[in-house]
């Protein structure tokens, strides 16, 4: 990882905060990329407007979060250009491309919900009011992203032959991997950055999903080798082919 040098100078809590916010910002970066890549598949003119707006929104949130990460030594150079596929910390959920419009709807619903749930817990943060207010603003701006996917789920679900339920169930298991089930000490919760622990947030996420669609089923086995710094298990990073599509090109022409 490119941050090895700066990492040594941070306190343990700062390091945790830096990692978690990086994960959230990168999730937004990759999710924005999803909207961009799937955009031509929109099914109504207003879907195109909506997908552009959500893409724009997620990039905006990522940009503000990266800038906040500047407190911990993260530079714009690093956030936008110098990292490679292996350095991106988005949830495993976003690795595999959607198989259909229904699968796309399922994925953005879960991703938007998961990210909002996690960042939402920073809104009442007393340790850092700037971060709390930023989280509040992001949370507010994300509201219509959730109603968009919820509306589509409802519409698709009316059709008995729709795969939407199966798609959500399959992707749901992948989304849960964003949280560690094993009860590890949660430094950010204890330090007052988040008002809820990871375990509580995982529960909140499940409840929010179930308010829209029934996802009960066999328990998902806890992932092995889960790493807090990337919020996933196994090898870090996203597929190279996905990275190639979402990375920023023509660096020399970037506006300041």
């Amino acid at each position: 990882m490119t941050d090895a040098t700066s990492a040594g100078r941070l306190s343990q809590t700062d390091q945790l905060l830096r990692d978690e916010l990086y994960c959230i910002a990168d999730s937004k970066l990759v999710l924005a990329g999803w909207y961009m890549i799937v955009l031509p598949n929109g099914r109504a003119i207003s879907d195109w407007s909506a997908m552009c707006a959500m893409m724009q929104g997620q990039y905006g949130h990522a940009r503000a979060l990266y800038q906040y990460l500047g407190h911990f030594g993260v530079t714009r150079e690093e956030a936008e250009w110098t990292r490679g596929a292996a350095d991106i910390r988005s949830p495993k959920l976003l690795d595999q491309p959607p198989r259909s419009w229904s699968d796309f709807v399922a994925t953005i619903f879960l991703a938007e919900q998961a990210i909002s749930t996690q960042l939402g817990a920073y809104r009442s943060n007393q340790a850092d009011r700037t971060l709390a207010r930023l989280a509040e603003k992001v949370h507010k701006e994300s509201r219509f992203h959730v109603s968009y996917s919820t509306g589509w789920i409802k519409a698709l679900n009316k059709d008995p032959s729709s795969t939407i339920k199966a798609d959500i169930r399959r992707r749901f298991a992948e989304t849960l991997e964003w949280w560690d089930e094993n009860d590890q000490p949660d430094g950010l919760f204890r330090a007052g950055y988040r008002e809820a622990s990871d375990a509580t947030l995982r529960k909140r996420f499940i409840e929010a999903v179930e308010a829209t669609i029934d996802v009960s089923g066999p328990d998902v086995p806890a992932p092995v080798s889960w790493q807090r710094s990337i919020r996933r298990s196994g090898k870090p990073g996203i597929p190279d082919s996905l990275f190639e599509l979402i990375r920023f090109k023509n660096h020399e022409l970037a506006l300041p």
Binding site: R43, A44, Y148
Partner: protein
């Protein structure tokens, strides 16, 4: 592969279903009709309305299914709410 759009499912019925959008910038202004949007249900209509008509930071926005509107002056015409 060409998109196959199931109109009954994705548009809400045999014919497109519309929602009329009303909004105002501040409490001092009256709620004004700003446009309409097609969607199969209220959630999707809400999101689409917000994303298409987000050129202003609305203080209040609401949607009404066009089918719920009873025309009075336009009685007898096809028009329920004039577009603009």
């Amino acid at each position: 592969m060409k998109k196959v759009i199931d109109r009954r499912l994705e548009l809400g019925g045999d014919k497109p279903e519309f929602y009329e959008i009303f909004a105002r910038r501040s409490s001092a202004e009256a709620l004004t009709h700003i446009g309409s949007i097609e969607a199969p249900n209220a959630e999707l209509a809400e999101a689409r309305a917000w994303f298409v008509y987000d050129h202003e930071p609305w203080k209040e926005m609401c949607i009404v299914p066009t089918s719920a509107i009873i025309p009075i002056t336009e009685r007898g015409s096809d028009v329920k709410v004039k577009v603009v």
